[in-house]
Amino acid sequence: MKRRANVFIVCSPSARVGVSTTARLLTDYYLLTNTEPAGYDTDPHEPRYAPYFPDRVRVLDVSDIRGQIVLFDGLLADDNRPKIVDVWHRSFPRFFETVQDIGFIEEALRRDVEPVVLYHADGGRASLEGAWALHEHWPELTMMIVHNEGASPLEPEEIEIFHRYPAQGRFVIAPLPAPVVRALSDTTLSLSEFLRSPPVDMSIVVRAAIKAWIAPIFAQFQSFELRRQLESSNYL
């Protein structure tokens, strides 16, 4: 069975749709499974992903060529580590312009590195158009949509919009009560460590809520991984 290294491009052209939360969750998912992910935070001004993983997430500016070298050369490094990029919404156009200019997708596929776009969908027209623009440019690119129900809530009848995205599947991240959100915003709180041994000084209610919140998200990540492994199997 041929294993392909994954590069997760966690992105959206819109602000405040939960991109950094997904990058954080994915990083903790891999840490929990004893895999060593490498992360990149493309918001050089107010990074929201890197503070949770100061030792494994690099902050860079994609409008600067030195930042591009750190990012894209790092994504192609043959180290068998999953890579996670938190694409800040203001970096979104420049990020994909650079991807196009340097032929990143083509080179990645050539090297058995599989870029996976985790596209954070919302109810806006720009979001849908952005997804289609990516799909039309790179039809071979794997795209999953992510709906963070807490960050971009939609009415039940609006959920239909997700069927119009050119995506292979959807991850859903459930909303959380405000006190739990506050607890999660603590940058010293590692979700993977939390699942291994929940802090005793944390409210039992909050602990239960976090566990209940994380479990279905990690189950989705695991299902995705298993599906990818099955798809790349030579024996099926």
Binding site: I65, Q68, I69, F72, I102, G103, E107
Partner: protein, 252 residues
């Protein structure tokens, strides 16, 4: 196949003549057209540094070097010759080619002659066109707008166009996009052809370990230049498959 000479030059310095000459050699090599280069930046040659195996440094005003280039056009196995004219030497080079009878031979149909006149972003470049006009009648004369930096290129407004182009017949214009400084510098340091840099090889053919990002930028830039050369049918001019292909239409 009729021998072809491609002269790359300008009378103004710093407009990227050698960069264009390097791109031409890369383009011909990638299309399996074997070419030889002559670098007139005597005694040290920049083109020669990047393409040492196919380039010689010559002094275009020296009779022996003129013989070395022109007397071998018919006899050499390699039928395409690229001459990178040193800064400020385009008019002198053309005068030398006229004095040696080369331009008469071109007029008689013995050789294809292409001139890539590399223009800078100032109006001074346009003044050169008038000086060169008397020599280009039988040549495929291309104006090359090379965006070597971020300065805005002069606009080809109708008045300017009329003033400078009424006496000269061109085969067209080419626009060379800008390559970012860091990528350009890294190729300079590597001292290899652009295509070798893109392939991540050293001059000796070993893996070079260059940044993928920088190689990606160079590849895209080189592809855009190749698109320009394709657009003006450069291959058809230097290696025509039939008689018609060699006669690219000229525009006034």
């Amino acid at each position: 196949m009729k021998p072809s000479v491609i002269l790359v030059g300008a009378d103004k310095g710093g407009v990227g003549k050698t960069t264009i000459a390097r791109a031409v050699l890369d383009y011909l090599n990638s299309n399996n057209i074997v070419a030889r280069g002559f670098d007139t930046e005597f005694p040290r040659g920049t083109l020669n540094r990047f393409h040492p195996e196919q380039t010689s440094v010559v002094d275009l005003t020296s009779t022996s070097d003129q013989m070395r280039i022109l007397d071998t056009l018919n006899t050499a196995q390699v039928k395409v010759t690229v001459i990178d004219v040193r800064a400020g030497g385009l008019s002198l080079a053309l005068q030398a080619l006229e004095d040696t009878g080369f331009l008469d031979a071109v007029h008689a149909g013995e050789f294809n002659f292409l001139i890539f006149h590399v223009l800078g972003s100032s109006i001074a470049s346009l003044d050169e066109i008038e000086e060169i006009a008397p020599f280009v009648e039988d040549a495929h004369y291309f104006l090359v707008k090379n965006h070597v930096n971020d300065t805005t290129f002069f606009e080809w407004d109708p008045l300017t166009h009329t003033k400078y182009f009424e006496k000269v017949m061109t085969s067209g214009e080419m626009t060379i996009p800008k390559l970012n400084e860091m990528s350009y510098e890294q190729v300079e340091i590597a001292g290899v052809p652009f295509s070798t840099f893109v392939a991540d090889r050293t001059a000796e053919g070993e893996p070079a370990g260059q940044s993928f990002v920088l190689r990606g930028y160079v590849r895209t830039w080189l592809n855009r230049i190749a698109d320009e050369f394709d657009r003006v049918q450069l291959l058809g001019l230097v290696a025509p498959r039939d008689a018609k292909a060699g006669k690219a239409g000229k525009e006034r």
